[in-house]
């Protein structure tokens, strides 16, 4: 489904601060995978997502999505196939527009944005139905500017908007990290619902080891630009938070922390 082949990425190339992150890194996402990626800061999790989404270009290597080379496709063109929810709840919605207007925009994804009326009144019931699934009472707040909603509510909407159009791949970029424990729990459940409902392929980066263990069918731990753990199926099911913590500790000792 998605393949990264022999990726090389370095930051500050050609300076004394040069930091080689990925060296000949290859990674494969299979159709129907729900991958949780964990790892310490600087291990390459977010860089991996940025490479997949096109925010960052690799120095060498190839990225294939459904056998199509997307290595040099700009971010906005990849968005047709890839949906992304960010850590910052502000990033996934537009704060000065109302909930309804945000839905109208997302509903039009993939179609031309021409001079027709933006809000189609016939679709309102559908939007309400989607919102009521969040269980936050958002269906009654269609005309509220998104900026007036809480982070959890905004993230729920961002998730719903991303799921509205068919994407091949859902990218979740620490999307519960900025939320309180209760909200992050809710968002995680909504995410799981969405993935199952649409049979999505998803890649989730998280610092919440419990989420990583509980959700998804595959778990990857990154360290120094390598996938040091990559378990799926039964092996993944057997994995416990304590196992992950142990590996984390080992890494820290190796690094001299």
């Amino acid at each position: 489904m998605l393949t990264l082949e022999h990726i090389h990425t370095a930051f500050h190339r050609g300076t004394v601060d040069e930091m080689k992150l990925f060296e000949d890194f290859s990674f494969r996402v299979n159709k129907g995978d729900f991958i949780s990626i964990v790892g310490s800061n600087g291990s390459g999790k977010t860089t991996l997502l940025n490479l997949i989404c096109g925010t960052l270009q690799p120095d060498a290597g190839k990225i294939l999505l459904r056998d199509k080379d997307i290595t040099h496709l700009p971010e906005f063109k990849r968005a047709k196939y890839i949906g992304r929810v960010f850590q910052d709840p502000k990033a996934g919605t537009c704060s000065n527009l109302t909930v309804l207007e945000n839905f109208a925009l997302a509903d039009n994804k993939g179609k031309p944005f021409a001079l027709g009326r933006a809000v189609n009144k016939k679709r309102i019931d559908y939007y309400k139905e989607l919102l009521s699934k969040c269980g936050m009472g958002l269906e009654d707040r269609l005309n509220t500017p998104i900026g007036n909603l809480s982070g959890g509510q905004r993230q729920a909407i961002a998730l719903v908007l991303t799921g509205m159009t068919d994407v091949d791949l859902l990218i979740l970029d620490e999307h519960t990290a900025a939320l309180d424990p209760k909200s992050s729990e809710t968002i995680m459940e909504l995410t799981d619902q969405l993935v199952k409902e649409h049979d999505l392929t998803a890649v989730m980066v998280t610092h919440n080891l419990r989420f990583a263990v509980e959700y998804g069918n595959r778990l990857v731990m990154m360290h120094d630009g390598k996938a040091i753990i990559d378990k799926s199926g039964e092996e993944k099911k057997a994995l416990q938070v304590t196992d992950l913590l142990e590996t984390f500790n080992q890494i820290s000792i190796e690094c001299g922390n």
Partner: protein, 316 residues
């Protein structure tokens, strides 16, 4: 009748510059793009309109042509920014500098008679020139109302019609899919990218509209001086921004007014302030200085120096 004279000045000027300020509403408030191009496109609009009038063509068509010329050069600014990644302020400076030449050539082409010398490049509307005042419905309105102490009617009314037409069209546009996308581009480019759309396109469109409006304002302005001269574009950035910011901050709490309406009132208020200041007997040479000082006061009192989230208050 001094009061009537003052009223005429600030109403007419206010309405003219409200169109400019609406352009800034699109480029500055919505897109968060400090656009200096208007300094040139205001005059370009005036020149294009002037050429239409000087050649006896329909002035309403001239107004449309002025708008398009503004769109064109605003689009160039947008292209420089989006495609070549040049900073907003520099893009504006580059295009408005290039426009000095374009405008000069245009004005020289339109200059007839004794004025044909580069040093005194002006287009002067003759007595029989057909301006907006004389074409189509303009000539149906009496120029002045004698019963009310000779209050001017025709010209302010024409300006009002143009300003309101611009407002209505802009409001309509901002509620289309394309307009909504434009509003989203200003606050959250990432969001627009995730919609699989290039936010650069919206920026170019927004700058085109902003400068098209500036050009319309320039075209209207020619009526007050009966022609076009090279110094007309000076200080437009300040007039536009001051009008915009006055309008949006004075009527901040008034929810039933659309932002575009607030901007029109803002432009009129700003011109009224200028007229009041001038009534104190300050020579007109100090005009631009006073404009800058007034704008600084507006910024301080309005508390609208760009803060985070500043844009979110300014939605339509």
């Amino acid at each position: 009748m001094e009061f009537v004279g003052a009223l005429e000045v600030f109403l007419e000027m206010g309405l003219i510059f409200s169109v400019l300020a609406m352009g800034y509403y699109v480029s500055y408030s919505i897109l968060d793009f400090p656009d200096l191009t208007v300094e040139g496109t205001f005059l370009t609009g005036a020149v294009v309109f002037g050429l239409f009038v000087a050649n006896g063509l329909n002035p309403w068509l001239g107004l449309v042509a002025a708008f398009l010329s503004g769109c064109l050069f605003g689009g160039v600014t947008g292209l420089l920014h989006v495609k070549l990644k040049i900073r907003p302020l520099l893009c504006g400076i580059l295009v408005s500098t290039a426009l000095i030449t374009v405008n000069l050539v245009g004005v020289t082409a339109g200059t007839v008679g004794d004025f044909r010398a580069e040093s005194s490049s002006i287009i002067s509307f003759g007595r029989d020139a057909m301006t907006l005042n004389d074409a189509f419905f303009g000539n149906l309105i009496p120029a002045r109302v004698a019963a009310l102490g000779n209050v001017p009617l025709r010209q302010p009314l024409i300006f009002l019609v143009v300003a309101v037409a611009c407002k209505v069209l802009l409001d309509l546009y901002l509620n289309t899919k394309n307009g909504l996308l434009l509003r989203a581009t200003g606050t959250n480019e990432q969001f627009v990218k995730m919609l699989a759309v290039d936010p650069g396109k919206s920026k170019i469109i927004g700058l085109a509209i902003g400068n098209g409006c500036a050009a319309i304002a320039g075209a209207l302005y020619t009526h007050t001086v009966d022609g076009v001269n090279q110094s007309m574009g000076l200080g437009m950035v300040i007039i536009g921004l001051a009008s915009l910011i006055i309008g949006l901050s004075v009527f901040k709490k008034v929810r039933f007014l659309k932002s575009t309406t607030k901007v029109i009132f803002g432009a009129i208020i700003y011109q009224a302030c200028l007229v009041v200041v001038q009534r104190f007997g300050i020579p007109s040479a100090y005009n631009k200085f006073i404009m800058a000082v007034l704008f600084t006061l507006v910024l301080i009192l309005g508390g609208r120096q760009k803060k985070q989230g500043g844009v979110s208050r300014v939605n339509a």
